[in-house]
């Protein structure tokens, strides 16, 4: 087998591109779940963000406005979920699934006149000399802005959850909303903010697919990325830094198998594609086997409705 033609640098660069949308969506969902809310509507928020970002970019010619629109779009959609689950106390699983369906349909409707259009191209970091350095130049210093932004969000979420008072409150709400309420924290408000953050992240991740990764608008184009993001949160056992690992694993295996095939390496694609899901299942089994560890990681109030009277 000739692996010499496999360019690890190019591979790493495409891997980061493939991993960025699922990492963004997963980070958002992680914060949502840490606050005790299970939002299964990630796919719907992603696709809606994808079309909002695409449409605004095309209409205004500015990808920056597009990115902002994508985040707003994702947030608005997530807040409908927030309203349903936090004020009307509807079932989170059903509302989340409905959000996915609604997002897919709404995006298809909005996107009808945007098929086959090329969006304005997205600027990439280009620092003279540094971006041209071998190996670290292409890997570290020549991406689009969103890749760097996603790392800032990653670091921010990690720091926020572990080292800030706000993060502590959010986790308290996720662990036991009754106790948090008794302490005087606004459970619903905290959760709504978390849901909105999750929506913005998912919207941004969707826009990354439609503006940078592909780049075009096609109905249903996120093709399940939102569900993978949900799997990554579990895989990461609700720890932000492991989300990066999960996103690179899920995204990386896809990229790796495509590149290995282009090289003509004999591999069984089906097994490779299955691998991340198998790992997720194994993680779930390990977690459930050790009840102490599970109770440390999975938010105890995940998916439970809260009302001050109860």
């Amino acid at each position: 087998m000739d692996f010499s033609a496999l360019n690890p640098v190019a591979l790493m660069v495409t891997l980061m591109v493939a991993a960025t949308p699922i990492m963004l969506a997963a980070l958002g969902e992680l914060v949502v779940e840490k606050s005790g809310v299970l939002n299964l509507g990630v796919e719907g928020m992603m696709i809606f963000g994808a079309i909002c970002g695409f449409a605004v970019s095309v209409d205004t010619g500015s990808v920056w406005l597009g990115i902002i629109a994508a985040m707003i779009g994702g947030t608005l959609l997530s807040l409908t979920f927030g309203f349903l689950t936090q004020y009307l106390l509807s079932n989170q699983v059903a509302s989340g699934l409905a959000l996915t369906l609604f997002g897919l349909g709404l995006a298809a409707l909005v996107g009808q006149s945007y098929t086959g259009i090329k969006p304005p191209s997205f600027p990439k970091l280009d620092i003279p000399f540094i971006s041209d350095l071998p190996v670290i130049g292409p890997i570290l210093f020549s991406h689009d802005f969103i890749v760097y932004f996603s790392f800032i969000i990653l670091g921010g979420v990690w720091y926020f959850l572990n080292y800030t008072r706000g993060g502590l409150i959010l986790r308290a709400v996720g662990e036991s909303h009754d106790a948090a309420h008794a302490l005087g924290y606004k459970v619903v408000r905290v959760r709504l903010m978390a849901i909105a953050f999750g929506g913005a992240c998912a919207g941004l991740g969707g826009a990354y697919v439609s503006l940078i990764r592909v780049p075009q608008w096609t109905e249903g184009m996120t093709a399940g990325a939102g569900w993978i993001a949900l799997a990554i949160v579990v895989f990461a056992s609700w720890k932000p830094l492991r989300v990066l690992l999960g996103a690179w694993l899920f995204g990386g295996i896809t990229i790796l198998q495509l590149n290995l095939q282009a090289l003509g390496v004999e591999i069984d694609v089906a097994y490779l594609s299955m691998a991340p899901y198998l790992v997720t299942i194994i993680v779930l089994v390990i977690m459930s086997a050790d009840s102490k560890r599970a109770s440390l990681n999975a938010p105890a109030s995940l998916g439970k409705a809260f009302h001050a009277s109860s």
Binding site: A5, T14, T218, M221, W227, L258, D268
Partner: protein, 357 residues
């Protein structure tokens, strides 16, 4: 993920069909699609066929469709719902619906089924497909001429005869005009996933490929090529929005005349189980305009080939052709028979790699 979609699809169906019309008057025709109608490719053209049926028969017909139906057991539920809600004719438009179609058809002997690109029939199940390999001969010839690196790429979906025929036909014709050409095949294992299709395109470009033929359903490969450079073709649809480059030409599937004829047959009671396999001569496969980027002599050459196929004087699989292992398949001047083509499970000589199981 699949489970969720399934539940949703089931719920949506239950809601969608519970209010179904009193059966009597219009003939109800259902369509099961593998992707969204807005994919700009495969499903989009099937839906154009559906719309043509509505236009042809007006209020004598009522059509419904369910899009993005996963292949396999989920499809069975969708078809069952359609059959239960009074549909007289159901088109199932992807290879992976083959066994589900046969299973459901057994339970509803009075409902007619038409399955696209498969090979299993029953008294109430017809099959229909297009000879896409005729179009592949033309796009393969263009690819052979247009590649500068002598490396062409093929984004394949699933290892089924239809796709293998396309790979063989493309490579055969590229090789005839460019003996140095190599082909790299990537199996995407999906019909529709724009992100993955774009990633596959990038992977091929990274390996020095500069002309890509896609066998997936979306326009993503062309979008990626438009950004990164290289040439491609419209697949299942014209995709003219990417002309003159990267789209050099296209293979267009025109299902409308067939759909209109079959719906008509159900209406007048003349429907019978048939296996239809039409191509360029009958118009089921059309070739999109040749881009001006292609040199004129090449355009003339492929036009001639297209005319030859249309007139029945040229068959894309005309010997001498050897199989991948070097053993003879077709002798000089020998033409492949439909049976072998329909079940094609081998590469021809010169293609590197194995067909996955």
């Amino acid at each position: 993920m699949k489970l969720m979609k399934t539940i949703l699809a089931g719920a949506a169906l239950a809601v969608g069909f519970s209010g179904a019309a009193l059966a009597d008057d219009p003939v109800k025709v259902g369509f099961v699609y593998v992707g969204p109608v807005g994919d700009g490719g495969w499903t989009y053209y099937h839906d154009l066929g559906r719309i043509a049926v509505e236009e042809a028969y007006g209020d004598k017909v009522e059509t419904t469709f369910v899009e993005s139906v996963p292949e396999g057991a989920d499809a069975e539920r969708v078809m069952t719902q359609m059959a239960l809600s009074g549909h007289k004719l159901i088109f199932t438009t992807s290879f992976g619906y083959m066994d589900p179609t046969i299973n459901v058809a057994k339970k509803f002997p009075n409902v007619k089924f038409e399955h696209a690109t498969g090979y299993k029939t029953a008294p109430n199940v017809s099959t229909y497909s297009a000879r896409f390999y005729e179009g592949r001969a033309i796009t393969g010839t263009i690819a052979g001429h247009m590649t500068k690196t002598n490396k062409i790429g093929y984004i394949a979906s699933f290892p089924i005869p239809e796709v293998i025929r396309g790979i063989n036909s493309s490579f055969l014709h590229a090789k005839r005009v460019n003996p140095d050409v190599e082909m790299k095949v990537i199996w995407a294992y999906t019909w529709f996933d724009p992100g993955k299709e774009a990633d596959a395109t990038s992977a091929l470009l990274d390996q020095g490929v500069d002309v890509i033929l896609a066998h997936t359903d979306s326009t993503a490969p062309l979008a990626k090529l438009a950004e990164a450079g290289g040439y491609g073709f419209g697949q299942a649809a014209d995709m003219i929005q990417y002309a003159p480059a990267p789209r050099l030409s296209s293979i267009i599937d025109d299902w409308a005349p067939y759909y209109i004829a079959r719906v008509g047959a159900v209406m007048d009671g003349s429907w019978e189980s048939v296996s239809t396999w039409h191509g360029i001569p009958e118009g089921m496969v059309a070739i999109g305009e040749f881009s001006e980027v292609i040199p004129e002599d090449v355009r003339n050459q492929v036009q001639e080939m297209k005319d030859g196929i249309a007139a029945g004087t040229y068959h894309p699989f005309t010997g001498p052709i050897n199989k991948q292992d070097g053993s003879a398949w077709l002798a000089d001047g020998e033409i492949a028979d439909d049976g072998t083509l329909a079940g094609m499970n081998f590469y021809i000589e010169g293609i590197v790699g194995d067909i996955p199981n």
